[in-house]
């Protein structure tokens, strides 16, 4: 499969509520302090920024089937991370309903010990009012 044919493909949006349990469990693993709202909005609990890329990835993993959509053969390796870029415009809050959309923006073939593709996916996260929560891109390395 030539994965370049996937450029422009938009995967189904994934909407989830970012719950307190998830944030608390994750912050406990990384030793982060929780609660973390330090005066940005007394009425709402801000989540640690470290949780934002995790939300994006979790949503993409639910929207994408690497084997079916990207012809990835797990016998030759798993999907690995490339470069990840994130732009933040506002804090994210515990309990927010966020919708993540992933669109394939680029596929570049590279040759190492084995040939692989670097798939770049644009990430757009919107809140329940339709406003942008954050945006960015995620690169994935997929062996041929």
């Amino acid at each position: 499969m030539d994965r370049k044919q996937l450029i422009g493909r938009e995967f189904p949006p994934v909407t989830s509520v970012i719950g307190e349990e998830d944030v608390r469990d994750f912050t406990r693993v990384i030793g982060d302090e929780y609660p973390t709202s330090k005066g940005c909005d007394a009425a709402r609990q801000a989540m640690p920024p470290s949780f934002a890329p995790l939300i994006a990835l979790r949503s993409i993993l639910r929207a994408v089937d690497w084997e079916k959509d990207f012809a990835l053969d797990y016998a030759t390796g798993t999907a690995m991370f490339g470069e990840q870029k994130m732009d933040y415009t506002r804090p994210l809050y515990v309990g927010e309903r966020l919708t993540i959309r992933g669109t394939v923006a680029g596929v570049v073939e590279k040759h190492g010990a084995k040939p692989f593709d670097v798939v770049t996916m644009l990430i757009d996260a919107t809140d329940s009012a339709g406003g942008r929560a954050f945006s960015g891109s995620m690169g994935f390395i997929l062996f041929k």
Partner: protein, 146 residues
Amino acid sequence: MDIRAKGFFEDMAAGAEIPAASYGPMDRYGYITAAIVLRDTNPLHLDRVYARERGLPDVVQQGPLNQAYLYRFVTDWLHHPWDLRRTAIRFVANVFPDDVLTCKGTVTRTYRENGEPRVDCQIWQENQKGQKTLTGEATFTLPERK
């Protein structure tokens, strides 16, 4: 509680260092929680036999966990965690259980964007052998001394 002295915009200039921070040793049992939160139960992160069959010394820590420590390094030092504006992070090497991760950063540029003080910096994470595991850039705002 992060005890590093916080910076102000006027104190920043190209070449200034963000105080380093170390985390760890990494705990393999945390990977189970991370797998649940990520809803990704790839055995590479959980099953050491599976990992060793693939030529790895042990299970591989999930990338978002590695990244979370680099985020902490930056956002715990900021006056407010959401003073973070932008990140670009590259996954360079695997992290394994019992690794100790040290995060470092160097300021590359200070400027204003729409009136807001901004600081660009190079950031990276290395393991106890000095091998880089993550490299990248971060942009954040810092308050000015009044």
